[in-house]
Subunit: 351 residues, 4 copies
Amino acid sequence: MAPAMKALRKIKAAKGLAMESVSVPAIGPTDVLVRVKAASICGTDLHIYGWDRWSQGRIKPPVTLGHEFCGVVERAGEEVTAVKPGDFVSAEMHVNCGHCHQCRLGQAHICQNLRIIGIDQDGAFAECVKIPASNIIRLDPAIPERYGAILDPLGNAVHTVLAGEIAGQTVLVTGCGPIGLMSIAVAKACGSSTVFATETNAQRRAMAERMGADVVLNPAAEDAVKRIAGETGGTGVDVLLEMSGNSHAIQQGFRALRAGGRASLLGIPTESVPLDLVNDVIFKGATVQGIYGRRMYDTWVKMIALLKAGRLNLEPLFGEREPLDKFENAFAKLQSGLPGKILLYPNGIPR
Amino acid sequence: MAPAMKALRKIKAAKGLAMESVSVPAIGPTDVLVRVKAASICGTDLHIYGWDRWSQGRIKPPVTLGHEFCGVVERAGEEVTAVKPGDFVSAEMHVNCGHCHQCRLGQAHICQNLRIIGIDQDGAFAECVKIPASNIIRLDPAIPERYGAILDPLGNAVHTVLAGEIAGQTVLVTGCGPIGLMSIAVAKACGSSTVFATETNAQRRAMAERMGADVVLNPAAEDAVKRIAGETGGTGVDVLLEMSGNSHAIQQGFRALRAGGRASLLGIPTESVPLDLVNDVIFKGATVQGIYGRRMYDTWVKMIALLKAGRLNLEPLFGEREPLDKFENAFAKLQSGLPGKILLYPNGIPR
Amino acid sequence: MAPAMKALRKIKAAKGLAMESVSVPAIGPTDVLVRVKAASICGTDLHIYGWDRWSQGRIKPPVTLGHEFCGVVERAGEEVTAVKPGDFVSAEMHVNCGHCHQCRLGQAHICQNLRIIGIDQDGAFAECVKIPASNIIRLDPAIPERYGAILDPLGNAVHTVLAGEIAGQTVLVTGCGPIGLMSIAVAKACGSSTVFATETNAQRRAMAERMGADVVLNPAAEDAVKRIAGETGGTGVDVLLEMSGNSHAIQQGFRALRAGGRASLLGIPTESVPLDLVNDVIFKGATVQGIYGRRMYDTWVKMIALLKAGRLNLEPLFGEREPLDKFENAFAKLQSGLPGKILLYPNGIPR
Amino acid sequence: MAPAMKALRKIKAAKGLAMESVSVPAIGPTDVLVRVKAASICGTDLHIYGWDRWSQGRIKPPVTLGHEFCGVVERAGEEVTAVKPGDFVSAEMHVNCGHCHQCRLGQAHICQNLRIIGIDQDGAFAECVKIPASNIIRLDPAIPERYGAILDPLGNAVHTVLAGEIAGQTVLVTGCGPIGLMSIAVAKACGSSTVFATETNAQRRAMAERMGADVVLNPAAEDAVKRIAGETGGTGVDVLLEMSGNSHAIQQGFRALRAGGRASLLGIPTESVPLDLVNDVIFKGATVQGIYGRRMYDTWVKMIALLKAGRLNLEPLFGEREPLDKFENAFAKLQSGLPGKILLYPNGIPR
């Protein structure tokens, strides 16, 4: 009989989550079993907890949540050569099919048959998690565990920032949730000049400053577009990193973008967004990019290189830690607007 | 006293245009005076004729219209070395300032201080037109006059098609006005695979086939998105060339675009367009480009090279010719939906 | 006991090849067994036949040669979903490791642990060949068998031509062996303007003209650099496609390249090549690219799209056909300088 | 009679330079006269001083040297709008023609008719210098004068570093003269991970460490290629920035480059360099770029943005200052191998 382990799961089509005892996953010849050291809660997990419309259409209970984590290889399938037990690892939790048009073109991050571990199959809010070997990322032991636990959203930020030129560019980050905050640090580390950030939440604005933003604006209190125009000699910013998913912020971001600029959109609006295509895209000769996931595995290679070289200071994001059992505390804090990340420890908090 | 010439002008803030006798323009040391051999009517000229809202805000009568033309150098300013009297030429009619941020970055086509000859100052619907030497394009005498007269819109098409990869790509052209039709020919000449075109006007659909489109669809009569999905194995097209400015066409185009595809937008919508950014841009990892004018002068160099090498067959577009005096005929035909281009001859139609 | 099949093999460390009877390969769960319809002889096969220094260092007899082919799936491993018995296929014969730095970066064609089927393990000069499913390319039945048999070198040509801008570009192809000849056709199909080709062999020059080259030069008889300068207004070509591996041709090619041009090098020199880096690369602001193999699988996707759309006419290359048994005839013809490709039929020549 | 000024000039075809009194330059309607605050000596100036073979072929005495400088606008031609007297400025000293193929393509830095101020016409080692308005760069007063005086070589470094991806990349700088040293700082500021530098001169190696290089090697004392392979897990560096012009360094740099890497060559070899194209370029799928001058004016825009944002610490390069009269001291120090830059003050050293 398979040994049991604790897991935080969606067990029925309703609000809430439950801790359960489940079997440790059996692995196939090309899989890796990882003992989770630390995991982190994504905004998506909040949506699933709350059982919103998107969750109702996508999630098939029962399923273990969790797609941001790091851990140590517990067991590797017989055909796995890239890692061995004891290795410190994280993983790309988007699993691609390998044979669709996009996979063939090197765009696996937008695979037509993508499955997400922690969404479509059991994830990392558990003592152990099963991962295909191709998706395992070996981490340098010099990378701190807290950084290892947030590589999924940090990868979103790195993907977005590095989707075009960044050195010597002025940047506007609209929305200072965790990925927006990380984007500020990544942009500065990669040579951006002035970084503007807009955010209505005061705590997050304070955090944006600590992450390195040069000019932090409250768009509810002042005309952010006008202010940015003023600070850029009337030209606007070279790069918009849209992290809010908010229609107004998106529209403001486009107005603040200079002619010839780049708008990289990661935030998820909940409905259609009316865009002034003529003035904000066409006459501007702007480039707009949809950003999803992390490039597999170009984003990971660059992210790890930046971390190993010590170029990213993400310390302001950390602080809150909970054992997995106390998940209700963590979810409640995030729902009440806590900026930064909360780490969960399925195998106990290290001293 | 300066010699006089005929010119087709907007002389008052109302519908219509008038032929007038005006002075031949005096030129400065870095200007070129060109005797117009053939000119062509742009959709913008129709708007100015009709005195729509955009025209009312932009046009300051009196002004001579006309920004698509070719001719022969009549006189060159004393500092001009690039051309001499007798040279066969056309011109980039967008005049950039040379010192704004965009000009400094090599993006002169979106100069912050752009002025357009034939819109903001006297244009080519006249016996002669004054052009700054930097904007003059010398044409190989092997290029036919009728091609020389439409390089402005052809340049729009070349700019749009070559704004990204095109060889081996499936393409959707939404809207088969003149620039859409030219885009079909350019895409085929540059190695695109299947070219789809959508258009509600039957005459234009017939023209699209003559220009080389592989699959021509009437979106009013069938589900174009579904049909394109079927023809591309469910994947969608690699490249969307949006030439209609129509909201529905834009939305359809985005739905027909494959994940990871490119959408290049040239058509001018008259109001905000609601976009399903999540499904059509972000989750798709799409790249959206606003296209305006012609790259100065990269687009011209490539366009001339394609023409000289005989790679572009635009014959279906031609046929209608009028002396400049008969402009009312020409405008009337275009307003009634004639597909293709009408050439105007300010100095008489050659036999 | 495994059934037997015929195979053309290197059986000992010496000149020559031998037909042998060997076992039909056993396949694993992720492999595909393909019955070979037609195969083609690569220059590399000639080197191995002749047992030159490179061969002596690389080939470990016994091994079945052959890496250009098409065929029909005979059997698919139990985990294979992308193809099924009866499918018409070819294959990428470079097998990458999937986990080295280059593989992780989407540069599998320069994998650090690359193995080549037909070089490092048994290839396609046999009735059947075993291929990993990931490397199988399904072909549209509309693609003729003779085209299917040469996709490996055609892919080299497509990779080289499309490694940078090609539409509206002047091109110089140095060396008109099969890949050089194919490059001419690919460049024309993708919108290049004037295509120059240099080649000392008269038969190959004739073939270059049939493939669509605009100006074919014999560099042994005239000053090709001077001629190209003359034909390009003193500027030089935009793109150099180096297909000869010959030092003199490489040096000439660089001199003929315009400032700011692209040099894509595929031909394999046998020793170090002295380059005038200052004048030919640095002051020119040139871009030089090493080209190896085919991008996996971006090159394949584009090549198949070009073929399906009927954009590539390679007919001049074909003509010679032999059953596999008559391999000595085929190798002798190629060694004596026959231009074009020879097809071999391990399972008999179809009527 | 025109007022006189001091100028450091090559007055005859022989070794050495001379201070002379010459007329302050007369300016045309599109020129700017700049009073020089500080200038800096380039390696090229040393060659001209020494009257080497290159100088003998290029320099037409008498001519005032000096192409690295900053100053204050003294007078502006009547058509100049971009700057006014009193503005703090530097200049791009490469003057392009505006109408050759490269200028038309936005590659003005490799203009076919390039003239260099300070080489082909009177330069900035004088109290005043005449510059075409298009080449003037307005500087933020926050940029220190010493930085303003070295923007020409700093622009070389920025051009080289930003000629491809740099964030998260491992980098090798071969040769730690001033531009090599600046490249180290620029690469680090733009997010490179490990930066290796090779240099045989011990003083320059010490300087390389102060500029931020992570690993500084003496290739005369150890096997730099092997060491770099070891430090990169056997992969090699992502980016080679070649700043030495030395054949051995170039060859070593190529061997240290990873497959798929970028080699950007700025250093000027004095003769042909034998390259192992097969192993170092072709099989590696490497990209090699010739780098010349500064992109006009993309490089300037990014350089100024990096400086304004305080991302570049170049302090280790400074220290030596001389009034222009004492030029012999300065040239002697540089000839004896002083690392870093020497500033010359034609209008007196500020306190």
